[in-house]
């Protein structure tokens, strides 16, 4: 099995009033291609920190992190920014859509960041918005959309530039149960394919059944891994 993400012995500490606090204690993590992997665990266990490190937006103290075969610790800042732009798609808990842009323009942001003109990029994002059932809302501003609709726009934004890895932080936290399942169905349908990996941080147990693999974290360590067949890896 080949992996989109390989983390080995990743250690991360933060400065706090109490001194240096270690939040990741030598984490090993593999995220396979073609699967949706969920990183679960209680608040403060380090899953968002690990996700940020994998996404290349947070540095780490020691260890190795490879994404799509590239060692992100060895990249310069500029290379890492370009790598994120090309290789990663992001879905945030609070959607983080730009309030002044329409749904289509928001979905097109990664293409614009890559140099495409805004209106052309918005047109290019339309098929994906249609696929996510948002075609008729493409011209609406985020404030005119429900939470579930905004998250679908965010999914389109995460996928519009065909990324290799999609990272999602609590994608259903701001949604009700029905809305959350709808969003996960669409995320799974749109994002999971053989040449892409999807890494989801969540503690919403209602969506665990969408995962191909569940990685449990506790106190900055991997506590266990379950595959789709509920096979537990020690």
């Amino acid at each position: 099995m080949s992996f989109a993400v390989k983390c080995r012995d990743v250690i991360k500490s933060f400065e706090s009033e109490a001194g240096l606090q270690r939040v990741l204690h030598g984490v090993d993590l593999d995220v396979p291609w073609g699967e949706m992997t969920m990183l679960v665990g209680p608040s403060g266990c380090g899953k968002t920190t690990l996700l940020s490190i994998v996404a290349g937006i947070l540095s780490f103290d020691s260890g190795d992190v490879e994404v799509d075969g590239q060692d992100i610790a060895k990249m310069s800042d500029a290379l890492r920014v370009a790598f994120r732009r090309r290789t990663l798609g992001f879905i945030f808990q609070q959607y983080n859509l730009l309030p002044a842009l329409t749904a289509a323009e928001n979905a097109a942001i990664p293409l614009v960041a890559g140099g495409m003109e805004l209106s052309a990029a918005a047109k290019a994002a339309m098929p994906l918005l249609d696929q996510l059932g948002m075609g008729e809302h493409a011209a609406k501003l985020p404030r005119q959309l429900s939470g579930g609709q905004q998250q679908r726009v965010a999914i389109a934004r995460a996928l519009v530039h065909e990324p290799k890895l999609v990272v999602c932080d609590e994608p259903t936290a701001a949604l009700d149960a029905t809305g959350g399942r709808t969003v996960m169905e669409m995320l799974r349908a749109a994002s999971v394919r053989a040449d892409r990996a999807t890494l989801v941080v969540t503690h919403d147990h209602r969506i665990f059944d969408f995962a191909d693999r569940i990685v449990r974290m506790e106190d900055g360590r991997i506590a266990g891994i379950e595959t789709k067949a509920l096979e537990t890896v020690p």
């Binding site: 968002t48 996700l51 940020s52 996404a55 937006i57 947070l58 500029a78 920014v81 370009a82 790598f83 994120r84 732009r85 090309r86 990663l88 992001f90 945030f92 808990q93 609070q94 983080n96 730009l98 309030p99 002044a100 842009l101 323009e105 942001i109 990664p110 614009v112 960041a113 890559g114 003109e117 805004l118 934004r157 932080d169 609590e170 936290a173 941080v201």
Partner: protein, 380 residues
Amino acid sequence: MGKVALRMLFGDPGKYLGLVFGIAFATLLMAQQAGLFVGILGRTVSQIVDVQEADLWVMDPRVKYSDVTEPMTDTQLYRVRSVEGVAWALPFYRAMSTARSPDGILEQTLLLGVDDATLTGAPRKVLLGNIDDLRQPDAVAIDRAGFGRLWPNVPLDLGREVEINDRRVKVVAITEAGAPFTTAPVVVMRYSQALIVAQPRRSQLSYVIARAAPGHNAEDVAARIARDTGLQGLTRDGFVNKTMTYFLRNTGIPINFGITIALGFIVGAAIVGQTFFLFVVENLRQFGALKAIGVGNLAILRMVLLQAGVAAVTGYSIGIGLAAAFFEFVPRISIELRGLALPAEVAVGVAAAVLLIIAAASFASVRRVLVVDPAIVFRG
């Protein structure tokens, strides 16, 4: 990402208008006060500037500025004429005097006496009549504003009589003279006539106006006059600077206007700085998301600078437009405000001040954006 930056800017009309209003207000306040300051300062030298024919002014060494003269003997005129490099030299009289209209209206007037033969130094712009008629006995030219003060609500006409220092004179020409600092009516007579009308003193010659001969530098000739005659010889620009400097150092004008201009700058900077800073800070999360998605710091910097630049240009344009409208229309309402204008130097200076304000606001805001940790987008 430029379009995205502009959409972010215009997408919050309240904040955008607040930002533009702040810049426009600061621009208007600074431009209007600076324009008034320059205009009022210019009035202190308008009677020097009006005499375009002369490039040299000669006076008693004790004279500090143009309004207060120390009379010289008439023989000084001949001494100046004898200095090498002087093409011509003519007498020029200047004094305040009291005018009384037949209706009993009293006005303090600025009485100017110009050379009898050539009338050099008389205002060039004549609205009514002929300046050559000054050669008639007891003839005066009066400026348009002065006519309105002595004969309110009366259309401009010639032949009216007025008493100056109890001597009756007749208006033969209406001129457009530069407004004096006190906005007093400007009355022009022949030099010999002015000496008769004026209060008698032992010496009467206020100034000698002169011109450097071709091939001679005015500054050199002025220095030579001072050396050879013991008088004070100045070029026109030198006399303008000396007079302005006197007013700047000895009156409250620069302090009062300076305070208002500084207030405009400070208030503008505070409004613009705070509004723009808050605008950026409230969008920090969006900028953080853009950074996470892969928009580099340089692109973010360009976005913030574009937003600041557009707001600055819009606000400045509105503010400078309002200031220009003020200087265009207000002098039409009140003749006392004639000649006040918005000099290009003031417009450029205010643009520089606005640029400084917006640059400071951008710098403070951009710093927050550039150091923002993109990981904030993963913290609910």
